[in-house]
């Protein structure tokens, strides 16, 4: 995981190296100052030498300026390195996500990918900056201060060494114990927030059943539980700071006592004692800092792992190197096709599918929820790959085509279709970047979208909001169909794409297809029998298998499922369509 992440430092390698060097420079400057201080006191004051005071003072100012430059350098390059690193990580993820197949996308889920690209990257950016600036600085200060103290007086400095070892052991022990507790707390905390989320989205149910008090009590119980767990967890770390301060105090007292003896005995000077006391603070403060860095890195490592997962994910569907770059016609054939979403799952979603569809045919597909209608059509443009058997388009195995070529020729209107923020024209031109406005309008006419677009105040330049929230479901579906038409594909697949469109408009769209793009093979998945009964042939899907394949009349004669659906939707118990376009 670490190497995957570090590879993304790329052009920011130099700043990443310069930053710690700057920080070490800053530390050295800071360490030298107490030594010079001692010199002022010992040589200057006791030596009754004003010259030494001034020259040493001047040297100290110079060093302070050097320290400032090093510090500024550290801030500058550290910021450059960490924000750049974050940028590269985001790009590496985003680029790789663009190569993902549907199977890869399913594996991560939309919200999972968003979190990785946003929150997780921010965590890593902060941790990286911290590491570059502090992770070098803290141990460096610690070591330098220790060495400096040793040089002044090894005997006194050994007191610090003992303190450092004592505190390190204690801190590792406490952190270990505390992280366990905190992990539990945060899990519970997430649960609490989930229940809030649940209440926010189901507020109508809560209010309809007058369950406000009930939910309140439930929440209070959970909140109390969280409170108790948090208190318990924090009790574990509450003595870190007193122990820390206590250790510093003990060190000061010991050093003062031992130092006093030594000064009297003549083996230590007053100035040196003062320097030693300054180092005491430096050493223990930096130890504390190290502990904090350790905790922060532990927390960031979870984010790092999630990011690395995305970067390392291999796209499960790619074009062959010598892929075919043209599609002969819109014929489709399925030969003994099995398909499972999960390679390891025992039950395939599609079982032994055999179909021959001629170029230019209009095929209806009908079947209950979960009968694998979408799965069937998703194999045609290689959104998923078959588990067994072959799918051929234009007589060639779809796996032999260049993906881009195949998907340009097989245009799919997905069941969960999405519009993007931008004007209607922008959205339509997803189908064809270079489409003229006239071409766009023609596609909209075929999809019966022109009428409502023209009624909008800004017509084709109307801005669509993110997720297409400012158009109705039926309007969105028609725009998506127009967008797919602009590709001028050899095969057009509508996956339940007119469910929110009223029946008469639905019929108009199908009529336009028949008249305007007769050469295009059309596959239409629908719930409504009226949407498919006029097709050349109809596939009846049931439980992952083709239950029937034939014309409307044939199926009415010899297919029980088709007949049942037909009867349930027509006649007395039929499904009137009150949901006409508004």
């Amino acid at each position: 995981m670490l190497s995957t992440l570090l590879k993304q430092i790329k052009q920011y390698t130099l700043p990443s190296i310069v930053t710690p060097i700057c920080m070490i420079g800053e530390v050295i400057c800071e360490m030298v100052i107490p030594i010079l201080m001692a010199r002022i006191v010992d040589k200057g004051i006791y030596g009754n030498n004003m010259g030494v005071i001034y020259s040493t003072g001047a040297l100290m100012v110079v060093i302070a300026i050097l320290g400032l430059l090093a510090g500024l350098g550290g801030a500058y390059y550290g910021s450059m390195a960490s924000t750049g690193f974050a940028k590269n990580l985001r790009k590496a993820m985003f680029d790789n996500i663009q190569t993902f197949s549907f199977a890869n996308i399913d594996k991560f889920s939309t919200s999972g990918l968003v979190t990785r690209l946003t929150t997780d990257v921010t965590n890593i950016q902060n941790a990286y900056m911290m590491t570059l600036r502090m992770a070098m600085r803290a141990p460096a200060s610690l070591v330098i201060a220790m060495v400096a103290a040793m040089m002044i007086n090894a005997k006194v400095a050994s007191i610090y060494l003992v303190a450092v070892i004592f505190l390190s052991v204690l801190m590792v022990y406490i952190m270990n114990k505390a992280t366990k507790y905190f992990k539990q707390v945060f899990e519970k905390y997430d649960e609490l927030n989930e229940s809030v989320q649940e209440n926010v989205s189901a507020i109508r149910v809560v209010k309809a059943y007058v369950r406000e008090d009930y939910e309140d009590n439930k929440f209070k119980k959970a909140a109390l539980n969280i409170y108790n767990m948090f208190v318990k967890a924090e009790m574990n770390i509450v003595y870190i700071s007193p122990v820390m301060t206590g250790t510093i105090y003990i060190c000061i007292l010991l050093v003062s006592w031992v130092g006093a003896h030594m000064i009297v005995a003549g083996s230590l000077t007053t100035g040196e004692l003062m320097s030693l006391l300054t180092y005491c603070m430096t050493i223990l403060m930096n130890l504390m800092m190290l502990g904090m860095i350790f905790v922060m890195l532990t927390m960031a490592s979870a984010s790092g792992k999630r990011i690395a997962e995305v970067i390392e994910e291999k796209a499960s569907i790619t074009s062959k190197p010598d892929a075919i770059r043209s599609v002969a016609d819109g014929s489709i054939s399925f030969e003994h096709v099995d398909f499972a979403y999960n390679q390891t799952s025992e039950e395939p979603v599609l079982k032994d599918i055999n179909l021959e569809i001629k170029s230019g045919e209009t095929i209806g597909i009908i079947g209950g929820t979960g009968s694998a209608k979408s799965s069937l059509v998703n194999l045609i443009s290689r959104l998923y790959d078959v588990t067994k058997g072959t799918v051929k388009v234009g007589g060639v195995d779809v796996r032999d085509y260049d993906l881009e070529v195949l998907r340009d020729q097989v245009s799919v209107v997905l069941q969960k279709n999405v519009l993007f923020s931008g004007s209607i024209l922008d959205n339509l031109r997803w189908g064809d970047k270079n489409a003229t406005e006239e071409e766009c309008k023609r596609a909209c006419r075929m999809a019966c979208a022109d009428e409502f677009i023209e009624k909008m105040p800004e017509g084709y330049n109307t801005q669509i909001e993110q997720g297409g929230t400012n158009v109705s479901g039926g309007q969105r579906q028609r725009l998506c169909i127009a967008r797919a038409l602009l590709k001028k594909p050899k095969i057009l697949i509508l996956d339940d794409s007119t469910s929110a469109v009223d029946t008469s408009t639905d019929a108009k769209i199908r009529k336009a297809f028949a008249e305007e793009i007769p050469g295009t093979t059309k596959l239409i998945i629908a719930q409504r029998i009226s949407s498919v009964q006029g097709c050349d042939r109809i596939i009846v899907m049931e439980d992952g298998k083709v239950n029937g394949f034939g014309t409307h009349e044939e199926l009415l004669q010899n297919n029980d499922i088709y007949r049942e659906v037909y009867e349930s939707q027509t006649g007395a118990s039929g499904d009137a369509d009150f949901d006409s376009a508004s």
Partner: protein
């Protein structure tokens, strides 16, 4: 519903990418937070303040000890040694005594620090618990409109982000601020005692330090705003692209989406770099200014101590102590300037928290109550047990009498106008009358106002004009809780709660026995699928029932309504994504439930609508037709066309 969603989308869309709002009146907010803390933890807070005093006092004592050590003990001994090198016998007794005294101060300081952290845990977690509870309770009391007009993500972020920043503020920033303030005052006092000129020098340097901080903060602040904006833009883009990733694949749009991403990514990197570089510069600048201040004091102090150490009374020991003070003076000032940013952030969060808390709750002036009733001697009286009959308990203030009126389920709308906002009406002049036990169906296109009408009966929204009466009582006079209890609703969007299947059905009637739960499930045709679940009625549902199919979730929602056994039913169905065969099962469950109750149905299925006592055809918020199926067919207008349009097509298509 379409209107509602539109509001939601617009709001959510606009807010994204905006920089954090400026906190208005930070002082007042701060006072309010502190008021909260003090209100519930007055003694704890006093303890904490005392502890902070003790801690600071002991650390100042410790610093002063350096001076005492050198001047009071080491120097005299050294002098004695020089005066009489041969006969000098060091006496460490007094030093030991002084150290013991300091050790006591230290011990006090440590104890105080411990007590402080411990007490802070209770204050911090306790305050947050209370805030959380208050937020939740208050949120539950808010009208539906609030949830329509606020993006759910924004509400959630109050519970997560804002509460979190507030936690940091209460647990870290405030104690540190207090600590810093006390330190600054006491250190300043000690410095003045030691040397006034050196104190002046130190103060000048602090002034320079503050000036530089202000400059750097301003520069980084500007870039932080830019960074925030760019983060918003990039995150919005990421969210959009990840949601539409499959569409991107289908349209071979990968390259274009990468190009746009690169642009936004680059912009964010640029502003983030600047913001961080400026804020990162603050530390070294202040640190080195601190060092410079230290150096200047050392030089001036050294000169003073050297020239006439006896006359001024400024000793080497005093200098040593002063220099330590000098360092411990710049530290808290740096801390204050650093804490300042996080406090502003926390205040912005607190502002959002209080905004929710200040939101007007749903008003309820109703006083008519719904009670179990039974008939005794020809009189309707209140019963203390469930009788299957209800009555409206009507208290008349003028005469101080209580009357009971049997609950029948008669609903009338009289010239009702309604709009989600006052500017845009979505329902106009709705007039309808549902007799007890009747079935009323609403038909019409999406956005015609079908769901809206049903939301008015249970007062999810209040009407602008007209009257709605329930058993001839104006619904405004009925207590909201009782009104809603009398109405069983199966909503368009099914929502289930985390818990077992049994818990979810029982949601309709909390005291229901297991037998009642099963009976309700059977009534809703849900029993057979529940039995087949891995753990039957004890199967855990999570994530809004994500492990169930759409149809199964709907059946559970019907069972939930069934167990409540309400006199009036509102069924707002959403079966467009359910296949015909599943829909039939769902429908059968509903049909059983409707028997004998006044029912309002919104439906697509003709079989549901056909046998209604009254069918109401809505178009753009107006009733265009109403009557029975046969009447409307005979009229040969809108309903007839909707009904036959499909038939015609099935022949021609």
């Amino acid at each position: 519903m379409a209107e509602v969603k539109e509001i939601k989308g617009r709001n959510g869309g606009n807010r994204r990418g905006m920089p954090r709002p400026k906190v208005e009146n930070p002082g007042k907010l701060f006072k309010r937070i502190m008021g909260y803390v003090f209100k519930f933890y007055p003694i704890h807070m006093i303890v904490v303040m005392v502890c902070i005093f003790v801690t600071v006092f002991s650390s100042v004592q410790g610093t002063l000890f350096t001076k005492t050590l050198i001047d009071g003990y080491i120097q005299p001994m050294l002098d004695a040694k020089i005066a009489d090198p041969a006969g000098f016998v060091p006496d460490y007794g007094p030093l030991l005594g002084a150290m013991a005294r300091v050790a006591v101060f230290y011990a006090l300081g440590i104890i105080a620090a411990y007590v402080q952290s411990r007490t802070m845990i209770f204050i911090n977690q306790g305050t947050l618990k209370r805030l959380r509870e208050e937020l939740f309770t208050h949120m539950e009391s808010l009208p539906i409109k609030y949830f329509d007009t606020h993006a759910h993500g924004d509400i959630m972020s109050i519970y997560t982000n804002d509460i979190d920043t507030l936690r940091q503020m209460i647990s870290q920033s405030i104690p540190q601020l207090l600590n810093s303030a006390i330190t600054i005052v006491s250190v300043l006092a000690s410095m003045i005692v030691l040397s006034i000129p050196l104190t002046a020098v130190t103060l000048v340097m602090v002034g320079v330090m503050l000036f530089c901080s202000a400059k750097a903060t301003k520069a980084s602040g500007k870039n932080f705003v830019a960074q925030q904006k760019n983060i918003g833009a990039l995150n919005g883009y990421i969210e959009e692209m990840m949601t539409g990733q499959k569409v991107v694949k289908v349209f071979n749009h990968e390259q274009e989406s990468i190009e746009q991403f690169d642009k936004l990514n680059e912009e964010l990197c640029e502003s983030a770099f600047k913001a961080n570089a400026y804020s990162g510069a603050l530390g070294p600048i202040n640190a080195q200014l601190g060092n410079t201040s230290y150096v200047i004091c050392a030089m001036i102090g050294g000169a003073i101590a050297l020239s006439n150490s006896v006359a001024v009374g400024f000793t080497v020991g005093a200098l040593a102590s002063f220099l330590t003070f000098n360092k411990s003076f710049s530290m808290p000032i740096n801390q204050v300037s650093m804490q300042f940013n996080s406090i502003i952030m926390a205040l912005a969060g607190a502002e959002r928290i209080f905004k929710l808390l200040d939101e007007q709750p749903e008003t309820d002036d109703g006083y008519v109550m719904l009670v179990d009733a039974e008939e005794k001697n020809g009189q309707v009286v209140e019963a203390d047990h469930h009788t299957g009959h209800w009555a409206w308990k009507h208290y008349h203030k003028a005469t101080d009498t209580t009357t009971y009126q049997p609950m029948e389920g008669d609903v009338t709308f009289n010239g009702v106008d309604f709009g989600y906002t006052d500017e845009k009406m979505v329902l106009h002049d709705i007039v309808l009358h549902a007799l007890p036990g009747q079935k009323i169906a609403f038909v019409g296109s999406t956005g015609a106002g079908k769901t809206t009408i049903t939301n008015l009966i249970n007062r999810f929204y209040d009407i602008q004009d007209g009257k709605i009466r329930y058993d001839n009582i104006n619904i405004n006079k009925i207590k909201k809780a009782d009104l809603r209890r009398s109405l069983g609703i199966v909503l368009q969007d099914t929502h289930l709660f985390t818990g077992t299947v049994r818990d979810n059905i029982r949601y309709g009637k909390l005291g229901a026995t297991d037998e009642e739960v099963i009976a309700a499930a059977k009534l809703a045709n849900a029993h057979s699928f529940i039995k087949r679940l891995p753990e039957g009625y004890d199967t855990m549902l999570t994530g809004d029932g994500a492990n169930l199919s759409q149809g199964q979730r709907q059946l559970l929602a019907i069972a939930r309504a069934a167990i409540a056994d309400p006199p009036v039913l509102i069924l707002d169905e959403a079966t467009s994504s359910i296949d015909t065969r599943t829909e039939k099962i769902v429908q059968d469950g509903m049909d059983k439930l409707m028997k004998g109750r006044t029912t309002f149905v919104i439906a697509h299925r003709l079989s549901t609508v056909r046998n209604s006592d009254c069918i109401i055809v809505l178009e753009q918020g107006r009733i265009v037709e109403q009557g029975t199926h046969d009447e409307l067919i005979a009229k040969k207008q809108r309903y007839y066309h909707l009904y036959t349009g499909m038939k015609d097509e099935s022949v021609t298509a």
